[in-house]
């Protein structure tokens, strides 16, 4: 699970075309990483695909920073 942050980071670099240095726990997808709702949806589809999960819309709306996404995944993947 230690690698989870790195895995998510790599996906963000690939999907949002931002430099790896910008991707911190606190980085906000819209304000810091220049994403819009379409980018975030595309990223979460990739996340769903990679981990075989299905993040519900009501959860997805709350995941506005990298840290929140990684934390959510930790919990979700730990449980399942």
């Amino acid at each position: 699970m230690a690698n989870l942050f790195e895995e998510v980071k790599n996906m963000i670099v690939e999907k949002l075309h931002v430099t790896p240095e910008k991707i911190t726990e606190d980085a906000h997808f819209i304000n810091d990483l220049g994403a819009d709702s379409l980018d975030i949806t595309t990223l979460l589809m990739e996340v769903n695909e990679k981990y075989g999960i299905d993040i519900p819309d009501e959860d997805a709306q709350k995941l506005d920073t990298v840290g929140k996404l990684v934390g959510y995944l930790k919990e979700k993947l730990g449980k399942e």
């Binding site: 949002l16 075309h17 379409l38 595309t42 589809m45 299905d54």
Partner: protein, 414 residues
């Protein structure tokens, strides 16, 4: 007072070059941009060649993120629009962006994106479909993205009329400037139809040449052995500008656009009306608006698709309109070299028409070895021609029976 409209900038993306200079030089030399498809393996297709653009370097001028969110037809439009804006020498800080529009036509829109996402939908289900499918696929997105890129807030939409889309777009843009709704419009047409799906439909309807062994000889408008058109791709964009605005900023003026005629065949979904009446009407309407007589026209950039029917009715319509003057016209087909760009055709051919009026040079119609019966006009066979061109006409006819004709003339004084 009538507002006059001039052409002040040109841009293309074509299989014969990504700059106006390279594109026009290759055309004058009679080079073919048609070759075997390399973007994917075409082995299972009945038609394995096209006027394909190899290695389009979009990210040389645009962000990679923009590349990911745009279909190829929009990328072509962005590239050609940027080229045209640069060619026109427009200072983006000095023009009134609220009176600057974008009208770029497309026949198919993002059919490649549509095809890719449809496969994902069938194989993986609804959850696999990209949220970007719709904004990448819809044909108006070229106009939308170009306005976003430059911040142009004037009239903005797309015209879809199959193979006449680009010509209709330019014609409507001309009218909007003439009527006072805008002072400058970035207009043209773009298409990226080279996909297995799209080729299969055209091939199955019998519209395409199947000359797989000699791709560069397949597009042969007006020739006895023509057997269908060749699919092409790319984009043509022009800057149309109200004359006083162009003069105020000392813009280079290629020519004046003075006539636009539109009509319908009201006949058949794919075949042209065999009497040529629809084509004739569009040409006659354009000439009327231009307030020119047939004798003022020196050059016709024909629709010239290389299909049996189109070429036949187009020549009939030209003869009906121009009568004995028909034989003094230079008539060529750009499609003989780049193939048929569908919604991009009327636009890239309008670019050629403007260049010919400006430079007094008319490119050849290649592969016209044996003119078919009744094909007795001066089709500029084999070699380019230098001739003083005053008036020039550009024809486009689309599936559904949509016809559009544009007329430009040499710019004379303010």
């Amino acid at each position: 007072m009538t507002r006059r409209v001039v052409v002040t900038g040109l841009g293309v993306v074509s299989s014969l070059g990504l700059s106006i200079k390279e594109f026009f030089e290759n055309l004058l030399q009679g080079k073919s941009g048609v070759s075997r498809i390399t973007r994917f393996d075409p082995a299972n297709l009945e038609v394995q060649f096209a006027g394909e653009i190899k290695n389009f370097p979009f990210t040389d001028r645009f962000d990679i993120k923009l590349q990911r969110r745009t279909d190829r037809f929009t990328q072509y439009a962005l590239w050609a629009s940027l080229s045209a804006v640069e060619d026109a020498g427009i200072d983006l800080n000095k023009i009134d962006k609220n009176r600057t529009g974008v009208i770029i036509g497309s026949g198919m829109g993002g059919i490649e994106t549509w095809e890719i996402e449809h496969i994902k939908f069938l194989q993986g289900g609804p959850k696999k479909v990209s949220p970007l499918l719709v904004p990448m696929m819809i044909p108006d997105m070229a106009s939308g993205q170009v306005s976003i890129y430059f911040g142009f807030k004037g009239p903005n939409f797309c015209i879809t009329s199959a193979c006449a889309s680009g010509a209709h777009a330019i014609g409507e843009a001309f009218r909007l400037i003439k009527s006072g709704d805008a002072d400058l419009i970035v207009t043209g047409g773009s298409e990226a139809p080279i996909t297995g799906y799209c080729i299969s439909s055209f091939a199955n309807m019998g519209a395409l040449s199947k000359r797989n062994d000699e791709p560069e000889k397949a597009s042969r408008p007006f020739d006895k052995d023509r057997n269908g058109f060749v699919l092409g791709e790319g984009c043509g964009v022009v800057i149309l500008e109200e004359l006083s605005s162009a003069l105020k900023r000392n813009a280079k003026i290629y020519c004046e656009i003075c006539g636009y005629g539109a009509s319908a065949d009201a006949f058949h979904i794919t075949a042209p009306d065999e009497t040529g009446e629809g084509a004739y009407l569009a040409m006659a309407n354009a000439l009327k608006e231009a307030n020119l007589s047939p004798h003022d026209i020196d050059y016709v950039n024909a629709h010239g698709t290389s299909t049996k029917l189109n070429d036949k009715i187009e020549v009939m319509a030209i003869k009906k309109l121009f009568k004995e003057h028909s034989y003094k016209l230079l008539v060529n087909s750009t499609k003989s070299m780049v193939g048929h760009l569908l919604g991009g055709a009327g636009a890239i051919e309008f670019v050629v028409t403007c260049l010919s009026v400006f430079h007094n040079k008319v490119h050849p119609t290649i592969n016209l070895d044996n003119p078919d019966e009744g094909m007795d006009l001066d089709f500029v066979r084999f070699q380019m021609r230098e001739k003083e061109i005053f008036g020039a006409m550009n024809n486009s006819f689309g599936f559904g029976g949509h016809n559009a004709c544009l007329i430009v003339k040499k710019f004379v004084g303010g």
